[in-house]
């Protein structure tokens, strides 16, 4: 199903942006985690400051409780929301939508599709590159996060919650990747969709943030895929929840399958 010639070319085409995104996100993670020791050092003063900061603002920043900020994992998880869940999702959706669509708006589709390669092979090869890049970004960011936790830790590291939040982050990125693909195949007049993808993710993130601030845990917040991730890493019952994994994977597969069906019948207008 995957055409190795196209896969190799597409990988080379995208590796530079993947490296750039990975380096940027990893640097942000490492730099932010390097502040953790200072946070511990000035615990009293920060507690004083934090008391006058509305709890809503803390929640908006990703902290479930005031004391989360003084836990290495809590500190990491709050930053992970911004760096990997938000930025990683933007990368995933922009990559996966443009990887298909750029052949059309850059007018190279006519060349590619006159080769002996089926639409299924084009779709599978390009998606495989997107999946590999998203997985690589998550792996590199996860390793960086883990190393930064070890380097800047204040006590023992509990690996289990770290692995769970890393997996959820990857699944969230994967979902947005699949969303990007369906956006790409549904566009009739080809044009770059970067701004649309970034805008859509920011809207979802805004809904998620509002739902955290207002304490609304019900239906409204669940409009946003960010809400589908359990971020309470410091809770004792934090564990793998099958329904969340099934939800993300199921939707990603469903969107990818639907996208393939649409792509098979799509007029390639260049």
């Amino acid at each position: 199903m995957i055409n190795i010639i196209l896969f190799r070319m597409e990988f080379r085409r995208n590796v530079r942006s993947m490296v750039l995104w990975s380096v940027t996100i990893c640097a942000l993670i490492f730099f932010t985690m390097s502040l953790f020791r200072s946070v511990l050092q000035y615990q009293q003063q920060i507690m004083g400051m934090v008391k006058i900061v509305p709890m809503a603002a803390m929640k908006a920043r990703g902290f479930g409780n005031i004391t989360d900020i003084f836990s290495g994992l809590g500190f990491y998880a709050a930053n992970n929301i911004v760096y990997m869940m938000l930025l990683g999702s933007i990368y995933s959706m922009v990559l996966s939508s443009n990887i298909l669509l750029k052949e059309e708006y850059l007018k190279t589709a006519e060349y590619l599709m006159s080769r002996p390669i089926s639409r299924d092979e084009i779709f599978a090869s390009k998606l495989a590159v997107a999946l590999l890049n998203i997985a690589t970004l998550n792996l590199v960011a996860g390793i960086t996060g883990f190393i930064s936790l070890i380097v800047f830790r204040s006590g023992d590291i509990v690996i289990h919650p770290f692995l769970i939040i890393t997996l959820y982050t990857f699944l969230l990125n994967l979902f947005f990747g699949a969303l990007g693909v369906i956006v790409a195949v549904m566009i009739r007049r080809p044009r770059p969709v970067t701004f649309f993808c970034v805008g859509l993710i920011l809207v979802f993130y805004f809904i998620f943030t509002i739902s955290r601030i207002s304490g609304v845990s019900g239906e409204f917040g669940y409009v946003s895929p960010f809400k589908w991730v359990n971020m309470d890493v410091l809770k004792s019952d934090f564990s793998f929840e099958f329904w969340r994994i099934a939800l993300f994977l199921g939707l990603a597969l469903l969107l990818s399958g639907l996208s393939l069906m649409i792509y098979r019948k799509k007029d390639i207008l260049t």
Binding site: M9, M113, S114, P116, I117, D267
Partner: protein
């Protein structure tokens, strides 16, 4: 008659409410050099894009090598070469890298020699980046990528646009050689002199429909004549009329030039009662046949 390589039957394509092509039917035989002519927007590229399965027909069917263009498009594309009219290439690649990438889809390991041979004929530098190339040189790259795997069928959409006369002449030589080796050529263009120089048979497309399809020689010899009459008396030309008189090309008080598709004996019989200074009956160039169908 050799077996057909392309068979198009009642093919139509609509983009929403706007017309792409309507009820197009034509056959192209094995080894033919077939011209597909019409002005921009007539439906030539739409027809070709359906043949390549880039777009889907609204109705009708098309077969290449006896295979359905929708079901067997991958198999078909493995045996044809296509020169698009204005498609872009992967700009960041070098010419050689791009051509090797394209050739790799067809398998085999003889592409290197063939790339160098074709680049030599068309005078193309393989070491330059595609983004640095002029429109004409990009067109050369497009021509080479279509020929590199020695296809059984070549589909060319406006292949001469952007090429200087010298390279055009080399391209025509290359296409003629390929055709002699048995490659069927489907040559789409609005430049009639190109079609006339190369093709034996043509189809004329007008507003999405095929208005005429025949051998150029037949169109010129049997069906249409260009008649030029110089009358002895002024004013005769304005009143002259005969069945079969098609489009009038020029008229003045003493001269009349028109395309004639009727019986030549009837014409001479009609003229015998008139005083003439001169009369010429010629086979018209393709351009005038084309204009006749467009008026």
């Amino acid at each position: 008659m050799a077996s057909n390589i392309i068979e198009i039957s009642h093919l139509s394509k609509y983009y929403g409410h706007s017309r792409g092509i309507e009820d197009v039917s034509l056959d192209v035989g094995q080894g033919e050099f077939f011209g597909f002519i019409g002005p921009n927007g007539a439906g030539k590229s739409t027809t070709i894009r359906i043949l390549l399965n880039l777009i889907f027909p609204s109705s009708g069917s098309a077969r290449i090598f006896g295979l359905d263009v929708l079901r067997d498009s991958k198999k078909i594309r493995g045996r044809l070469g296509y020169v698009p009219s204005d498609a872009n290439l992967y700009d960041k690649m070098k010419v050689h890298e791009f051509l090797s990438f394209g050739a790799a889809f067809y398998g085999g390991n003889k592409s290197e020699d063939r790339i160098r041979e074709l680049a030599g004929i068309l005078d193309l530098n393989l070491e330059r980046r595609i983004t640095e190339l002029s429109t004409g040189n990009k067109k050369k790259v497009n021509i080479i990528q279509a020929l590199v795997h020695k296809p059984e069928l070549l589909i060319l959409d406006e292949p001469t646009s952007g090429l200087d006369p010298l390279i055009q002449s080399k391209l025509f030589g290359l296409l003629t050689e390929e055709n002699k080796r048995g490659t069927t050529v489907f040559f789409s263009s609005h430049i009639l002199s190109d079609v006339q120089a190369l093709c034996r048979r043509v189809a004329i497309v007008k507003e999405g429909r095929i208005v005429k399809s025949d051998e150029i020689a037949v169109l010129r010899e049997k069906q249409l004549k260009k008649v030029r009459i110089l009358f002895a008396d002024e004013g005769t030309s304005g009143n002259f009329h005969i069945p079969g008189m098609a489009s009038i090309l020029s008229v003045s008080p003493k001269t009349l030039e028109f395309m004639f598709s009727g019986d030549i004996n009837e014409l001479t019989g009609h003229l015998s009662g008139l005083r003439l200074e001169n009369l010429s009956i010629e086979e018209p160039p393709l351009e005038e046949i084309f204009l006749h169908y467009y008026q």
